[in-house]
C-alpha cells in the first residue's frame, strides 16, 4: 500500500473570477522508504501539491490518500489530529518555538500526542543525537545557526513517528555546508530507518540526492523519474 496516493488531484484558485489552475489532474503514488523530490519552477504547483498531501489545503477535485486513509473532505479538527500522528513537517523557515530549547521543541509534538514524559525526553535526546545536536539540547533557537535549527526541525518532524515527512524547500535558507550536512542526515535516516521523505525544492543539491524526482510544470506532472542518487557520505554526517 502506498504511503501517499493522489488521484486526479486538481486545485483551482479564484474559480469564479480569474481561475488559476495550480494543480491539474495530478496522479502520484509514493511508497514507504522513498526519498522523493518534487521540483519545478516557481508557480509550477509543487508547494500546492505538498500542501494537499500534508492536508493543509483542500483540492477542488480529486482525492488524497495517506496510508490508505482518504484525507480529502476530512473535518478540520480530525485532519489536525491526523497530521499530528501521521505526517511530519519541515519548513523552509525552520519555525521552531523560540522560547523552547531544542529538546523542548522536539518533545513538544510528542506532548501533543499525549506520550509519557520519560519516553518523550528519551526520544528527544536520541533524535537530537542522531541529527548531531547532542551537545545543543538545552540551546534555544536564537542560540543556534540556521543549519542547527533546521536539524532540530527534522528531529521534531521525526519525533511523532510519522508515516512520512514533508519538507518544503528545507535547504532554501541554508549555506552550502549546512545544506549538505542536513541532506546527509536525512539520507542516512532514509537508508537506515526507512523514513519516507518528500521534498519540494529547486535546490540542485537536494535534487541530486533524491532517488525519485517528480517534475511539475504548470500544475501538472511533467515527468516522474527514478535516478541514481548521490551516495550518502558517512564522514559528513
Amino acid at each position: 500500500m502506498p504511503i501517499v496516493k493522489t488521484k486526479n488531484l486538481s486545485k483551482v484558485y479564484n474559480p469564479e473570477t480569474v481561475p488559476v489552475h495550480a494543480l491539474r489532474d495530478v496522479n502520484i503514488s509514493i511508497e514507504k522508504g522513498e526519498f522523493t523530490s518534487i521540483v519545478g519552477p516557481s508557480g509550477s504547483g509543487k508547494t500546492t501539491l505538498l500542501n494537499m498531501i500534508g492536508g493543509l489545503d483542500k483540492p477542488t477535485s480529486g482525492t488524497v490518500e495517506v496510508n490508505g486513509v482518504q484525507i480529502t473532505g476530512m473535518k478540520d479538527s480530525k485532519l489536525i489530529d491526523f497530521r499530528l500522528h501521521n505526517i511530519g513537517f519541515v519548513f523552509q523557515h525552520y519555525n521552531l518555538i523560540p522560547v523552547f530549547t531544542a529538546r523542548e521543541n522536539v518533545s513538544f509534538i510528542m506532548l501533543l500526542q499525549g506520550r509519557d514524559k520519560k519516553e518523550m525526553q528519551q526520544r528527544a535526546d536520541e533524535l537530537l543525537d542522531q541529527v548531531g545536536l547532542g551537545d545543543r539540547k538545552d540551546a534555544r533557537p536564537a542560540q543556534m545557526s540556521g543549519g542547527q535549527q533546521q536539524r532540530v526541525a527534522v528531529a521534531r518532524a521525526l519525533a511523532s513517528e510519522p508515516k512520512f515527512i514533508l519538507a518544503d524547500e528545507p535547504t532554501a535558507n541554508l549555506d552550502g555546508a549546512s545544506a549538505m550536512n542536513l541532506l546527509d542526515i536525512m539520507q542516512r535516516m532514509n537508508r537506515e530507518q526507512h523514513v519516507t521523505f518528500v521534498f519540494s525544492t529547486h535546490d540542485k543539491r537536494v535534487i541530486d540526492r533524491a532517488r525519485r524526482v517528480i517534475t511539475m510544470v504548470d500544475g501538472a506532472v511533467h515527468s516522474d523519474e527514478y535516478q541514481k542518487a548521490e551516495e550518502y557520505d558517512e564522514s559528513k554526517a
Binding site: 500542501n51 497530521r83 499530528l84 500522528h85 511530519g88 519548513f91 519555525n95 523560540p98 522560547v99 501533543l112
Partner: protein, 406 residues
C-alpha cells in the same frame, strides 16, 4: 496543561519591556483601584459614623410635625412612657432627650437665627460624642450660670469671647416671645461649619425654666447596638406609640444617606474605569503578540496542535500575565491599606485642613475594604481578563496556515 502554562509564561517574557509595562499597569491599576475604593469607603463610613455618633444617632423620636415646623409646643407626648419603653428594650444602648426650639441670637455686633438645643449633659455624654468637639472653654458641665456653648465660627462672626454675654429670644410653648441672657462658657467645632454657625447649646434645665412650666422634650436621640437594627426598631416604636414619629438616621438625614449611596456608586465607577483601561491594555498586548507570532501559531496548527489548545495557550498567556500583575497589585494594595488603616491618609494636600472642615470632613481618612469587595474586584479582574483575551484567542484559532505562508 503544565506545558501550556510554561509556554505561556515564556511567551510573556519574549518581550520583557512590553510585558513589564503591562504588568506595572496592572499592578498600579489594581493598587490604585483598591486604594481608591478603600478610601472612598473610609470617607463615607467616617462621615456616617461621625454624623451618627456626634449628633444624629441611629434613631430619633419627634412630634410628627416638629421637624417641619420647629414650634416649641410640638413636644413629644408621653415622654416618660416612651423613656420607660426604651429603658427596657435590649437593642437600645443609650438615649438622650433634648429640648429644642428655633430662635434669635443677639450680640452687640449682630443678630443671627439659631437653633437652641437644651441638652441633658449626663445622658447626652453617654449617647453622643458631641462634647469631644469642644475647642475652647468649658462644656455645659461648668458651674457658670446660664451657660451657653457656641460654634467657633458663630462666635467669630459675633466677635464673642468666653465670658461674654449673648441674648437668646424664642417663643415659649404658649407662643409668647421670651428672651434670656446667657454666658458664653466655650466654643465647639464640629465637622460641619454650617452646623457650627446655626446651633447653640444650653443646659435643658436652664432652658425649661423659661420655655415651659414643666419638663418637655422635642427630640429623643437613640443609639442602638448597631445600625442594621434601626429600621425594625423605629417600626416597633411607631406601632407602639401614637402621636410621635420615630425615624432612622437615613430618614432624618437623607443627604447623608444619599452621600453614602453615592460613594458606593463612585466606587463602582472608579473600579470600572480601571478595569476598562486594564482590558484595553491586555487586548493591545495580546494582539501585538499574536501578530508577531502568526507564523509560529500557523506552524503549531500545521504539525497538529488542535485549535482548542491554541485557544487555551493564548488565553493562558493573558491569564498568567493578569494573575501575576493582579496578585502583586493586591498584595501591595493590602499592605498599603494595612498601613493606612492605622496611620490614615492625610488629604490635607488636596484642600488643606480648613477646606475639609468647611465641608464637614476630616482631613484624615482611614480606608476600609470588606472581604466582599476584595472578592468582587478579583472577580471583575478575572472576568475582564477573560473577555479581553477572548478576541485574540478567537483570532488565533482562525489562523489559516496557508494564508500565513503566503
Amino acid at each position: 496543561m503544565k506545558t501550556l502554562i510554561t509556554i505561556s509564561w515564556r511567551n510573556i517574557w519574549r518581550h520583557p519591556a512590553r510585558s513589564s509595562v503591562l504588568l506595572v499597569a496592572i499592578i498600579v491599576g489594581l493598587w490604585a483601584g483598591v486604594i481608591a475604593v478603600g478610601t472612598m469607603n473610609g470617607l463615607m463610613q467616617q462621615r456616617m459614623d461621625y454624623m451618627i455618633e456626634s449628633e444624629i444617632t441611629h434613631a430619633q423620636i419627634h412630634h410628627p410635625e416638629f421637624l417641619a415646623e420647629g414650634n416649641s409646643w410640638m413636644f413629644i407626648p408621653e415622654h416618660d412612657r416612651i423613656a420607660a419603653w426604651l429603658e427596657n428594650d435590649p437593642r437600645v444602648v443609650s438615649y438622650t432627650s433634648r429640648t429644642l426650639t428655633d430662635g434669635m441670637l443677639q450680640s452687640p455686633v449682630k443678630t443671627s437665627g439659631v437653633r437652641i438645643r437644651g441638652l441633658d449633659i449626663e445622658s447626652e455624654s453617654r449617647t453622643t460624642t458631641f462634647h469631644e468637639n469642644m475647642v475652647e472653654g468649658e462644656y455645659l458641665d461648668t458651674d457658670m450660670r446660664n451657660a451657653v456653648i457656641l460654634g467657633k465660627r458663630l462666635a467669630e462672626e459675633h466677635n464673642m469671647e468666653i465670658g461674654n454675654r449673648i441674648v437668646l429670644t424664642f417663643e415659649d410653648i404658649n407662643n409668647e416671645l421670651t428672651s434670656a441672657s446667657f454666658n458664653i462658657a466655650g466654643f465647639y467645632e464640629s465637622a460641619s461649619s454650617d452646623y457650627d454657625r446655626r446651633n447653640v447649646l444650653i443646659r435643658s434645665e436652664d432652658f425649661l425654666d423659661i420655655l415651659a412650666d414643666r419638663s418637655i422634650y422635642h427630640e429623643i436621640a437613640i443609639m442602638l447596638e448597631n445600625e442594621d437594627k434601626a429600621t425594625a426598631f423605629v417600626a416597633d416604636l411607631n406601632s407602639e406609640f401614637s402621636g410621635i414619629t420615630a425615624q432612622t438616621w437615613r430618614e432624618l438625614s437623607p443627604e447623608l444617606s444619599m452621600l453614602v449611596e453615592l460613594g458606593g456608586i463612585m466606587v463602582y465607577f472608579i473600579t470600572m474605569l480601571i478595569m476598562i483601561a486594564l482590558a484595553f491594555g491586555i487586548l493591545n498586548t495580546m494582539l501585538m503578540a499574536l501578530f508577531e507570532r502568526m507564523r509560529e501559531i500557523s506552524m503549531l496548527i500545521s504539525i497538529g496542535m488542535s485549535r482548542l489548545r491554541v485557544f487555551l495557550m493564548i488565553m493562558l498567556e493573558s491569564i498568567v500575565l493578569t494573575v501575576t500583575g493582579a496578585a502583586t497589585g493586591f498584595v501591595l494594595a493590602w499592605l498599603s491599606l494595612w498601613h493606612f488603616t492605622g496611620a490614615g491618609i492625610n488629604l490635607e494636600i488636596f484642600a488643606g485642613e480648613e477646606g475639609f472642615a468647611e465641608i464637614g470632613w476630616d482631613q484624615f481618612v482611614y480606608p476600609i475594604m470588606s472581604t466582599g469587595e476584595y472578592v468582587a474586584i478579583i472577580s471583575v479582574v478575572i472576568t475582564i481578563t477573560l473577555l479581553a483575551s477572548l478576541y485574540p484567542a478567537l483570532k488565533a484559532i482562525r489562523i489559516d496556515p496557508l494564508e500565513v505562508e503566503k
